[in-house]
Amino acid sequence: MKLLRCLLVLLALVPFAARAQDDPYAGFSGGYEDISHAIEALALSGDKRAVPIITALQNGKLYVAPDQSLWIRQDDDLLNARTGEKVAEEPEDLKQVRVNNAVRRAAEAAMGSLDLFSPDPATRAKAAEAVFTARDPAALPALNRALAQEKDSSVRTVMEQARAAVVLAVPDSSDTDKLAAIAIMAARGDLEAQSQLQTLSQASQSPAVTKAASDAVAAMARMQQIWALAQGVFYGLSLGSVLLLAAAGLAITFGVMGVINMAHGEMVMLGAYTTYVVQQVLQAYAPGLLGASLIIAIPLSFLVSGAVGVAIERTLIRFLYGRPLETLLATWGLSLVLQQAIRSIFGANNQEVSTPGWMSGATQWGGVTITYNRLYIIVFAVIVVGALMASLRFTSLGLQMRAVTQNRRMAAAMGIRTPWIDALTFGLGSGVAGLAGVALSQIDNVSPNLGQGYIIDSFMVVVFGGVGNLWGTVVSALTLGIVNKFLEPVAGAVLGKIVVLVLLILFIQRKPRGLFPLKGRAVEA
């Protein structure tokens, strides 16, 4: 208890002791150089009032009285700079603290280093980042002090990087310090660090430092190439999963059943419109659920497109089995009807489908920028295709579907109701197309023409992968996505797409059965 009291007394004495030694509020009445020093001293003191005082100075609102006391003019009031309290009576002979460019620089640097002590880690990191970019040797003392008390490891890293940058910018740092700094910069590895090291490797230095710097630059250039490659692969995977989603349903209706459904794109479109309707309804009746609108839309669009698919199979396609070219024409006609129907109901304009908060934004993964909507679409594609494969392989419905497509008569003889299975298979493929529509509503315009843009791509994906082979479709979609994305910077988006189409046409002519053809006697016939 006694000890505690002692401590309290001591603590209370500390500020006085400091002030007695060196008053941080002094020095503002002198010449420009004095003022600059005063600002630095104030910033280094760690005083809480430093920020408003220096801000006032920057804005020309800082005044000094003949007794050296500082005053801040705020609107019509005058504040005591030391306490921040309003004073009713204005002291006499207030002089505005003078500012020139040197003072302004000092103030800016001081503000930067002050943020290094901010209670908010994000602000501290940002300040350290600013030091990193500015490489101002003047910031070194503040930086060192901040480092000494920093507890957040990620902020620490940035601060160390900033210190390294400053060390490298000061010509008379020791080689040992510089080599250590180079290592830190190399670990950071971004363009900024690379350009600083680049400068360093060209400036006259000791050979060891020059070599270390240029080695680090070379290593970083390699890393950046790898990151750029990884970024390209990510974009490619994202495009590939869009293609995969669009093609997965077709892989069932066309690949497994052999039905050419030119209205497949419209099943996708229906899924997207279902998403739109779900959002409209939620907006009107349950705005709180808007964030979950996509989750709600997923089963609904599967059901809507799937039900339309079953209806199409029962009323149209079942009369055309074994006549693929007629099926093609009839379903094309159907696609026109569906498009016009949607146009008549919702209008020809693009509909606004909002993106929930958890899907917007991006994160950095190493040197790769990952946008959440693309990431979620990749995840969604994986889930949809995985579920599709599982349902074909492990459910009794899937077993019956495979039985019917492999040997219809035998399946019928075993008591499977083949017409029912046909309808369900077609409904499954259409429902998956509807799921694709939910995803596409997030990245494409929701309009009656939405599906048309995907129909040729989807067929290409399925044919390229090898008809009847779901894995082939996966590989094909991802390959096409990645190839497309890597061609884009070389050839431009449109030309890249044309090149891919032409390559596909040539490929199909060389290998009409796709990448992963099913072999066997039956196929030969």
Binding site: F254, G255, V256, G258, V259, I260, M262, L316, F319, L320, Y321, G322, P324, L325, E326, T327, L328, L329, A330, W332, G333, L334, S335, L336, V337, Q339, Q340, A341, R343, R402, T405, Q406, N407, Q452, I456, F459, M460, V463, V467, G468, N469, V494, L495, K497, I498, L501, V502, L504, I505, L506, I508, Q509, R510, P512, R513, P517, L518, A522, V523, A525
Partner: protein, 366 residues
């Protein structure tokens, strides 16, 4: 394809064109039977489409190749003609540049791209109308038929072909006027395009070309070549074991068909006054297939009949009830394939058996 329907068709095409022209030129505008000039152009457009339909019927009806990209050949022929018409404008364009068409001046072209050279010469332009579709068809067909791509696969890659061309022609830096295409034509072979007499002349020329194409097509399909072709359509593998090379037969008829389509496109452009990338859209190609299906596949005459009827319907519908047209067209696709596999001609004559589809469905899991 009985001889009397064929003769009737020839008479109707040639006589109809002549009659409309007479009613347009000889009668005063106030007369009850006067045919307005826009109707002449409309008729010319239908007959150009009929050539496209005839081209589709040749390959689909007789070689079993369901092409979903024939509008590409039509549009290429059209662009070749359009390029000639653009060069004919000369200094009468908005920018008054004697060499460069307006859109090139607008896009800051300094000189004519190499592929525009020669198009000021009508003979060269006409040669290109034939050669460009022919060469594209030759390359595409050679690759496709040699590797035995058939059926639905072939249909899909023909569609991809026209889709790729659509994307390409939309690009401004392709040098074909991008989105807007080629338009504002002034005259053809030195004759002003807008004159009624020119319009009638073009209609009659189109009718003559269509009649000629009908005669060539009929000769082809009734010759021994045509018999082989039909054999290939129905039982391709059997013809191979007889020593025929189906790919050669298909390639020949494919290229011929592309040329007919190209000429159709070249006749189409001066009569409608514009060619733009939209003509390449896969939807156009598929629409031309439905004309054939409506008229009757594998009858030649049916293609002409279907093209004229469906387009007449389109004109009437889009004028009166625009939003209903796509419903009507879609229903047409469905009803004809489901209920009327022989088309209109199938209703008239003795029912021709529906050609058997040899092209296997994608039934790999079998």
């Amino acid at each position: 394809m009985s001889p009397w329907t064929f003769r009737l068709c020839l008479v109707a095409v040639l006589g109809g064109a002549a009659l409309l022209s007479v009613l347009n030129l000889a009668l005063p505008e106030t007369a009850a039977f006067h045919v307005p000039t826009y109707a002449i152009s409309l008729a010319g457009k239908y007959l150009s489409f009929a050539m496209l339909a005839l081209a589709v019927d040749l390959v689909w009806g007789f070689a079993g190749i369901l092409t979903l990209g024939h509008a590409a050949f039509f549009a290429l022929g059209g662009y070749a003609m359009g390029m000639y018409l653009m060069r004919q404008i000369g200094t009468r364009g908005v920018y008054g540049n004697a060499i460069l068409p307006d859109f090139m001046v607008f896009l800051n072209y300094k000189e004519l791209p190499w592929f525009w050279h020669g198009f000021d010469n009508p003979a060269f332009a006409i040669a290109m109308v034939i050669l460009v579709p022919a060469v594209l068809a030759l390359i595409f067909g050679w690759l496709a038929f040699r590797s035995r791509v058939s059926g639905v696969y072939l249909s899909i890659i023909t569609q991809a072909l026209t889709y790729a061309l659509l994307l390409a022609f939309f690009r401004n830096d392709m040098g074909f006027g991008g989105n807007n295409g080629l338009t504002d034509f002034k005259d053809i072979f030195g004759i002003p395009l807008q004159e009624s007499s020119t319009r009638c002349g073009m209609l009659i020329v189109t009718a003559i070309f269509l009649a000629a194409a009908l005669l060539v097509a009929r000769y082809l399909v009734t010759s021994r070549f045509g018999k082989v072709l039909i054999a290939v359509r129905d039982t391709e593998s059997r013809t191979r074991f007889l020593g025929y090379r189906p790919e050669r037969y298909k390639l020949f008829v494919w290229v011929l068909s592309a040329v007919i389509a190209g000429i159709g496109g070249a006749l189409y452009v001066p009569q409608v006054g514009i060619i733009n990338p939209g003509e390449f859209s896969p939807a156009n190609s598929i629409e031309s297939v439905i004309w054939v299906a409506v008229g009757g596949r594998g009858t030649l005459v049916g293609a002409v009949l279907g093209a004229v009827l469906v387009n007449l319907g389109k004109t009437v519908f889009t004028g009166a009830l625009p939003e209903l047209w796509l419903f009507a067209l879609g229903a047409l696709f469905i009803l004809v394939t489901l209920l009327l596999p022989g088309g209109i001609l199938g209703l008239l004559g003795r029912p021709p058996r529906r050609p058997k589809n040899v092209t296997p469905a994608a039934e790999p899991a079998e």
